[in-house]
Every structure is written in structure tokens, then in C-alpha cells.
Amino acid sequence: ERLKAAVHYTVGCLCQEVAEEKGIEFSKQTIAAVSEITFSQ
């Protein structure tokens, strides 16, 4: 779980960057989903 949290944190930061760049928000669930997909990838 700690490893997942570390992946989730970095995915959140990367989402933040794209959000600012594209002027759009990401729901919490979307960030969690991208993190889950990344972890399983």
C-alpha cells in the first residue's frame, strides 16, 4: 500500500502539471484510476 501511495502521489503531481497546461481539472477518481492502471502496468 505504501508503494501504491508513492505511485499515486507522483501520478497526482503529473496530473496537476497537465491540468495547469491544459486548463482542465482531474477528478480524484480519475487520478486514482490512472494510478491503479500505472501500478498494474
Binding site: L3, T10, C15, Q16, F26, S27, V34, Q41
Partner: protein
């Protein structure tokens, strides 16, 4: 933002049968970069889908729309 190499190293070792397996610096660098590219691609495609629907927030459904093709591209 980027993944810590130690985090990626830990992720890789989750799946190694023999924990003494070492990951070279180059391999670790490449895997770290690949993970970042994967996340940026997923996020950018989902954001573009939400924008094409003129919505202010990227929701699960925008990610689900691009997900089959994203997973086939990696």
C-alpha cells in the same frame, strides 16, 4: 514531477522471483522514464477527450473511453 528511481526499483522487485536481481542504472532510468511517459499519455488523452466534450473536469468515463487503445499502445 517524476517517479523516484528507488520507487521504480521497488516496483520492479515486487515481481522478481529472486530478490538479489539487480537492475542496472540504465534500465532503471529507462523504466522510470517509460512510466512517466505512460502516465502523461493516459492523462493527456483523457484530458483531450473531456475537452472535446467541452467539460471542465476529466472524469472516469473520459479515461474509460481512451483506455482500450491506450493499453494496446503500451
Amino acid at each position: 514531477a517524476r517517479f523516484k528511481k528507488d520507487t521504480v526499483n521497488k516496483l520492479l522487485h515486487l515481481h522478481f522471483k529472486d530478490e538479489r536481481i539487480k537492475v542496472s542504472a540504465d534500465a532503471l532510468q529507462l523504466m522510470t522514464e517509460m512510466l512517466k511517459v505512460f502516465v502523461q499519455e493516459a492523462v493527456a488523452r483523457a484530458a483531450r477527450q473531456a475537452k472535446s466534450e467541452d467539460l471542465p473536469t476529466v472524469d472516469l468515463e473520459h479515461l474509460e473511453k481512451v483506455l482500450p487503445q491506450l493499453l494496446l499502445d503500451f
